[in-house]
Symmetry: C2
Subunit: 116 residues, 2 copies
DNA sequence: CGTCTGTTTAGAGACCTGTCAACCTAAGCT
DNA sequence: AGCTTAGGTTGACAGGTCTCTAAACAGACG
């Protein structure tokens, strides 16, 4: 459907050594910066935290929207940014849309930050 | 000298549970988002990676500037952003300025991302 | 004082965040 | 089926923020 970042050659080990080990290449830096940028907004960070800590591993948008002071379209926009950064994924199930975290992506970022 | 973010009640454990454990409060989200935002630029991410992976744990600005295609003032600006985010610190030593990473801050972010 | 290193300031242009309005899909009802 | 209502996303636009450069500034050394 829409573009999504892929850092997850992680499996191959091609990506994501801790920063303490080696400096980043220009290309890697760009991909990773896009993911960090997605986390660089308080609303998105709270959204991700609600999704990630949700029971059952997923949460309905209808539960997210009322938790914030911004309008529905704004939440939808932030979710799209997180989606395109590859940090979450969502799908429609009947009337409602449900979102899940993508743990590998978050683990990749954590690894970069040097929790070796 | 200048303001700097402090998340590092980390020592007290007051902060920074993994997102999988609990959703973030509004205040925490704001502080953490500011740190992630600092990482949300390719140039800054590469700067941080060079600083963090430098031998001896620190690096001279004079070694950073020539590695990028942007002008000196721009590098200086990005370093300031990283400094104010609490991710690095630097001091003048004679003619040159040297920068070091602040590992606790990076570890705090990694922990948030759930590498429990 | 003159030079070299690095930071700060000021400003132009691009990008991001939030809102309103329009749209699409699914479900319920006659 | 057709009509209506509700949940979410998309598009267009205003206002603020970020990134970058050029020029002026400050600190260290000869």
């Amino acid at each position: 459907m829409s573009k999504q970042l892929v850092v997850l050659d992680a499996a191959t080990g091609a990506c994501c050594e801790p920063l303490t080990a080696a400096a980043l290449e220009s290309g890697q830096a760009e991909t990773l910066a896009a993911m960090f940028k997605a986390l660089g907004d308080p609303t998105r960070l709270r959204l991700l935290s609600m999704i990630t800590s949700a029971e059952g591993g997923e949460i309905c948008v209808c539960e997210l929207t009322p938790a914030f002071d911004v309008s529905g379209p704004t939440i939808s926009h932030h979710l799209k940014v997180l989606r395109e950064a590859g940090l979450i994924e969502g799908d429609r199930r009947g009337t409602w849309v449900w979102y899940r975290p993508m743990p590998e992506a978050m683990r990749a970022l954590a690894t970069i930050l040097g929790t070796a």
